[in-house]
């Protein structure tokens, strides 16, 4: 039985989805359903007092989906910790996608502030899922202090470039004792399949779904990509070879009688 477990909790789907950047709530919800995901990320922002919008979360079945708030917007550990605690106060389970991204151009996660925040949030009872660059040593440190997963990026958020950090992610997967979720930069189902074929435990996708002209269909495609990649990994991929090796028998050829 291929089980996907984070912090002693079982999930069926290895595709996590983000809810940002969709053109409408309807598009987001359709994509979410089509993805088959069990875990869905959200952000925390000020309520627009003058313009109260339809509250997005009303439409998400909290029995069916685990809401995973992120600390997007945090530029340092203090802001991330504040956001995590606010998310908990807003009524979420104490799971947090820890995201500390001070640089607005590449949105790369700050390793030092992420580590500092993780230490404090773990002590405060949170289940911490840290978003990191594909740094195997950082991944080890975060696991040692008790993070529930590590979430290395494939490429910067929203770039759709794919698994550009492949070699380092392979090292992280080899050395990990917690689930590895490749998060960010995955632009196509083939990218998600690639991550899963490498042995990643799950992937997280947002932009590729949200910016597609057909988010629902793209989400369905990603679902298949993740399943295909996982099954291929479990089945065992053939080794790459330099020389050809025939697929058909080497004896019994039809030849001229000499």
């Amino acid at each position: 039985m291929d089980e996907f477990i984070i912090a002693n909790r079982r999930f069926r789907s290895r595709l996590m989805v983000g809810t940002g950047k969709f053109s409408s709530n309807e598009a987001m919800l359709e994509a979410m359903v089509a993805s088959g995901s069990d875990i869905v990320t959200v952000a925390l922002r000020r309520v627009d007092i003058d313009n109260p919008q339809d509250y997005m979360l009303k439409h998400i079945d909290r029995e069916r989906y685990l809401l995973l708030p992120n600390t997007s917007g945090a530029r340092d550990a203090e802001e991330a910790i504040r956001l995590a605690r606010l998310a908990r106060a807003a009524g979420c389970e104490p799971w947090i996608k820890l995201e500390v991204t001070p640089d607005p151009y590449y949105l790369l996660p700050d390793p030092i502030e992420t580590y500092k925040a993780a230490q404090i949030l773990i002590k405060d009872g949170f289940t911490v899922l840290p978003y990191i660059n594909a740094d195997p040593i950082l991944a080890k440190h975060l696991q040692e202090i008790g993070c529930a997963t590590v979430m290395p990026l494939g490429a910067p958020i929203g770039t759709n470039k794919g698994v550009k950090t492949r070699d380092n992610i392979a090292i992280i997967i080899e050395q990990a004792r917690v689930p590895v979720v490749v998060d960010a930069g995955l632009g196509a189902p083939s990218h998600a399949a690639e991550a899963m074929e490498m042995g990643a435990d799950a992937v997280l996708v947002n932009t590729a779904l949200a910016v597609s002209p057909n988010p629902r269909l793209m989400a369905a495609a990603f679902k298949k990509g993740v399943e295909a990649g996982r099954e291929a990994f479990l089945a065992g991929l053939g080794k790459k070879r330099k020389l050809a090796e025939a697929s058909s028998p080497l004896t019994g050829f039809l030849r001229e009688v000499k």
């Binding site: 950047k21 969709f22 952000a43 309520v47 109260p52 992120n70």
Partner: protein
């Protein structure tokens, strides 16, 4: 009296509670988190927390995000 709400100054009735404030804004307490002067206030304390002049209130909720 004047308070600060989500970074903007706002006039409210004296001694309004957090619950009262959310009601006037038509926000459901179930969906938000509130900070008063940089301290998170639990939902159960909303009705018991009265606002004073100059208080800084932050009201946040979940939105789409990656």
């Amino acid at each position: 009296m004047q308070i600060f709400l989500n970074g903007q100054s706002k006039d409210i009735a004296a001694a309004l509670t957090l619950e009262g404030l959310l009601n006037t804004l038509k926000l459901e307490t179930a969906h938000v988190a509130v900070e008063l002067n940089q301290e998170i206030i639990t939902k159960s304390a909303f009705s018991a927390t009265s606002l004073k002049a100059g208080d800084k209130v932050e009201v946040v909720h979940f939105v789409g995000g990656g």
